[in-house]
């Protein structure tokens, strides 16, 4: 299933609706939902927040992958940014040194099983797989 979403946080509700539909259609393990929702939101929010030059919708594609799910997000008219190169977060730092910045991508990289990045013709495509027996 694929669907385009406007560059707005208000689309998060519609993305969840799409995810619910994919899980129901393919009988996917509901225990994967939270990680799928988290990774999809964090990557979508990152695109909306940091690519302010584009007016184009963001394309999300979801489908089954062996024992789990594969999700890709494609952004258009965008500079290259490979989320795998995001700087880490010191999750052991004391409270007064902690800031929320960077936590979203950190969680994505920690919680998905694999993540891939493609950049071509100013199109940025991030694909992650959550595949657990």
């Amino acid at each position: 299933m694929k669907q385009k979403f406007k560059r707005s946080f208000n689309e998060l509700q519609n993305i969840v609706t799409m995810t619910e539909s994919v899980f129901r259609k393919h009988g996917l393990d509901p225990n994967l939902r939270n990680v799928v929702d988290l990774a999809t939101e964090e990557l979508f929010v990152n695109m909306v927040t940091y690519n302010t030059e584009s007016n184009e919708d963001i394309l999300i594609h979801m489908g089954p992958h062996e024992h789990g799910i594969e999700v890709s997000l494609t952004d258009y008219n965008v500079e290259r940014f490979d989320p795998r190169s995001a700087s880490g977060v010191d999750v052991n730092a004391p409270l007064d040194e902690r800031t929320p910045g960077g936590l979203g991508l950190y969680l994505v990289l920690k919680m998905v099983d694999s993540i891939h990045y493609e950049y071509r013709n100013r199109q940025s495509k991030i694909t992650f797989i959550i595949d657990r027996k």
Binding site: F9, N10, L12, Q13, V16, T17, N34, D37, L38, E41, E42, V45, D90, V91, N92, A93, L95, D96, R98, T99, P100, L103, G104, Y106, L107, K110, M111
Partner: protein, 99 residues
Amino acid sequence: MMFEIEFANDGIVAVDGRLDAAQAVKAQAFLDQVEGKCVIDLAKLEYISSAGLGVLLKTHKRIMGSGSGIKLINVNHHIHDIFRYSGFDKLFEIVPANN
């Protein structure tokens, strides 16, 4: 899908639904009014993203500045996983849900 945050009768802050980037402003506006020790009941929180974590972190730091802090109760295992990956289990007093 919705998100609600309110004071329960016992003064505990009760949240319900999904705390995502679209709802973080609402949660922050509510928690900005809280002074002193704050207990938040997460029994009905279905989901939290980094935006929601940011709200908790900002509020916790502000309240800690006056010598108190946030206690999170009835935390289900999905939410607890997020807290653990984030290192929040070392920053907050967390009471897991019974089931």
